[in-house]
Point group: C2
Chain length 149, copies 2
Amino acid sequence: MGIQEMSDAECRTFLRRVQIGRLGCALDDQPYVVPINVVLEEDYLYSFATLGQKVEWMRKNPKVCVQVDEIAGPRWVSVIATGRYQELREPELTIERAHAHKLLNQKQRWWLNAVAQRQLKSGDELMETIFFRIRIESLSGLEGTESSS
Amino acid sequence: MGIQEMSDAECRTFLRRVQIGRLGCALDDQPYVVPINVVLEEDYLYSFATLGQKVEWMRKNPKVCVQVDEIAGPRWVSVIATGRYQELREPELTIERAHAHKLLNQKQRWWLNAVAQRQLKSGDELMETIFFRIRIESLSGLEGTESSS
């Protein structure tokens, strides 16, 4: 069948390469899933947002899940991380916030879109960007190749 | 910025076209996100799985979320549906189950992979496929075009 579980190291190599993941958060048993930009460093996935439903929910319930996949021709990979939301606020976490900014600045595309999206809704072009990271608590992945046999 | 909210009809047109979505479910405030095959018909998203964490969780908490996106060059679309899990069991829902099977059979790739994946884990090549549908309760979408200005 050509399907196998990925090692922790393989999951991390994959997470370092990709740009976009899907973040799952939940409140009162209702899950909510949105695309986010992700950057892996050590045991953290760094990302950003502007104030909205996902940030409001994660402040109330920091348990989250990030799923990342890639389907390229006959080969596919899917990695799932669960962890805890940590908001990089100033002034308590100014250094970590600046570090997140630097890491994420290397991946411009979704950055611009996500910020623009929130500005569209709020009409506030100066809306503050919220940086956060997810401390990974579990990590697993599967990779497979299609087979007709 | 070139970002706009999609109408209900535009969201549905997009969902009819795509093959894969990300399903979010939650148990005890812990969200879990996995890729699934999706087929839209009327107010339902049809899919399938073999017994595992997501089915076990959705049986306990039927509140779910399905997120679907497409990033093709400078254009991107993201649609989010929330709704309720309904398992298409026999004998109560035999007709609906057969209908789901027919709809999903048109999209073979993930079907085969997902079933193979579970068989790999269980060692049971006869493991039963579970069909389910999600009754959509809310539907929203955004589409955008990158802009450097």
